[in-house]
Amino acid sequence: MEPIIKVKEVHKSFKNVQAVKGISLNVHAGQFTALLGPNGAGKTTLVEMIEGIQKPDQGEIFIMGKSWKGHADELHRLIGLSLQETHFIDKLTVRETLRLFAAFYDLGRKRVAEIIDLVGLAEKRDAYAVNLSGGQRQRLALGIALLNNPKILLLDEPTTGLDPNARREIWNILLQLKEHARTSLILTTHYMEEAEHLCDYVIIMHQGRILKEGTLEQLLNGDGAEKIIEFTLEKPNQAADLLGSRVPFPIQWEPDLGRGTLLVSHFETQIPSFFDFLKQKNVRLKNLECRRKTLDDVFTSMTGRRLDE
């Protein structure tokens, strides 16, 4: 099936910063895709090129087989988007703001009322935009993005800076959408939970390039070791005894944090043998945590830094 969004080898530079260095990707109809990466990875630039806000220096972008040149009006009607940060007209109420944007799509009051319910702003429908909280403002932005029943939804960091409750409210709206509508979503985020929770396909970006991409399962289980043991030592200077090529466990040691990490596939069999190994080396643990692998671990294993750094 022809992808709904096709990005071919796009590059974009600003003055002397190369923000996007040759990215290609495909998004299929109904697919929820996350562009995951730390700040400065080039996510916003990429998504703004897809939105038609920025023009690529090189490469091509096709949305439902059409490029932005000559099809802007048509594509604007297919796409719903929310920018990383938008302030609306201060002294316009939620309902008035939605009505204004609805007018751009030739939509009426009925759709505005539906959207107000969908994004849970019924109580705030007569509040001025300037008086909304961060979460409410983001829900308004999301509501505006959904007004035209878009085939493609592009959300740039929709939950950045929001508290966990506000974030979950946005997630719920998007999950509802995933269930009921056949909308394709591209969402940029630096929260791995967001990508894991909402998206079927994750593209990990770093320094203007795609580092790795795939379904959540492909990314997490790619090397067969999907579980993690993290530990600290009572005497951190003993860490040297645990490292090296002759030891049975491939431990990664972070000297700054005084923390060791071990990738495993089965806790039940591998933890006892790890304990035996420690006993044999006469090393005492201070703390030990077992957990499943996350996207952050994948990112850290490839770049040496964490997503939220």
Binding site: L81, L83, T86, H87, F104, I144
Partner: protein
């Protein structure tokens, strides 16, 4: 003593960071520091290189259509103490007298011999501040007693005409003040059209320009153009709202001036409305041009000031621009605010109609459309 208690480290770092932020933005630096210096330089040159104080007096030689009346006292005064003006654009007889005084600097009196109708026009335009009439060897001074410039001219003029005759205040003739409070000749008649024009300029420049720059900086423009919204509608809506607001603002000002000062619009109302729209289009176009690119409100502030400030000073909103050097007058008259203020004044107090304001109306429309088109070409929506 712990040095941290003197100036906390955090504070020092904050101050340093803020200074860096300013000094690393050359445009902000220009508008904040260089522009005010340029302004002071410009205004300084305009005012300090011209130490002379000018007073212009209209000497009435006859009523319109009537035979010239004899003005023997003034003629004798002109012959004895003044020199003919070097050049006079029209054929109006003109005499000049300069007095150098140690404390007051140089004062130059210009006397224009003209008929009453022309003298009234000159007075309404702020070109002269006082009318002098000689009737049977008695001098009558006609001016708005509430206009400080006219008062000063009167006092200096009486002193000048009585110079060397300390024994009698009015030895040259009998002084007689005739207050001019006829509608159209008072300072308030001059001021209200000026204030209207200034209101249009300020409202367009701050309302439109600043509004657009702010919407750009808040990314609202970017969000709006990511919909099927027609860009031209957005700009048109902004202009329409602004023109409507200006109608309300100016209407209230005129109503107030009518109720309190009994100001009348002596010319054609329809011409005034068309001219008003032309003025709004002119400043609307300039506003779009000025705000076409920047998303920084501080730069916007400077850009607006660079347009507004010189015209505030030069265009004769509060006082006639005829006090500026003669060479500069033709340029000043072409400034949009001068065109607007002069035109509105001519309709208000000189009874002008379409035929008289056709040219400035066209000029203002042309300016507006030209700037609007140029602004749209370079307009940055993102």
């Amino acid at each position: 003593m712990n040095k941290n208690t003197l100036l906390p480290r955090q504070l020092i770092h904050l101050i340093a960071a803020l200074f860096k932020d300013i000094f690393r933005q050359p445009a902000v630096l220009f508008w904040g520091i260089v522009f005010p210096i340029l302004m002071s330089l410009g205004l300084g040159v305009a005012f300090t290189q011209k130490p002379d104080v000018f007073h212009t007096v209209a000497v009435i030689k006859n009523e319109e259509g009537r035979q010239a009346q004899a003005t023997p006292r003034m003629d004798a005064f002109f012959a004895a103490q003044t020199a003919p003006c070097e050049s006079s654009a029209d054929q109006t007889p003109c005499f000049k007298l300069s007095l150098q005084e140690e404390q007051l600097g140089r004062t130059t009196f210009t006397f224009l011999k003209t008929d009453r109708a022309q003298a009234m026009v000159l007075l309404k335009r702020g070109r002269v501040s006082i009318l002098l009439e000689e009737k049977e060897e008695v001098l009558k001074y006609q001016f708005d007693p509430l206009n400080p410039d006219s008062q000063l001219t009167y006092l200096k003029l009486v002193r000048l005409l009585n110079r060397g005759k300390p024994d009698s205040v009015d030895s040259i003739g009998h002084n007689d003040i005739q207050p001019l409070t006829v509608t159209g000749t008072r300072y308030i008649d001059f001021l209200v059209p000026g204030l209207m024009s200034m209101g249009i300029m300020m409202s367009c420049m701050w309302g439109l320009s600043y509004g657009m720059i702010e919407k750009r900086s808040k990314k609202l423009l970017r969000r709006m153009v990511a919909t099927p919204m027609k860009k031209s509608y957005f700009l048109m809506a902004l202009m329409i709202v602004r023109i409507a607001m200006n109608f309300i603002e100016s209407g209230l000002l005129v109503l107030f001036a009518y109720l309190v000062f009994h100001i009348r619009i002596q010319g054609e109302i329809l011409a005034l409305i068309v001219f008003f729209v032309a003025g709004n289009i002119a400043f609307g176009g300039i506003a779009v041009f000025i705000s076409a690119r920047t998303a920084n409100t501080e730069i916007g502030n400077g850009l607006i000031n660079v347009v507004v400030m010189p015209m505030m000073v030069l265009s004769g909103v509060f006082f006639s621009y005829h006090n500026f050097p003669d060479w500069s007058i033709p340029y000043i008259q072409k400034l949009p605010l001068s065109l607007l203020a002069d035109g509105i004044r001519s309709i208000f107090i000189e009874g002008a109609g379409f035929s008289q304001i056709a040219m400035p109306t066209l000029l203002l429309f042309a300016m507006g459309i030209g700037f609007f088109a140029a602004g749209l070409k370079i307009f940055k929506w993102h």
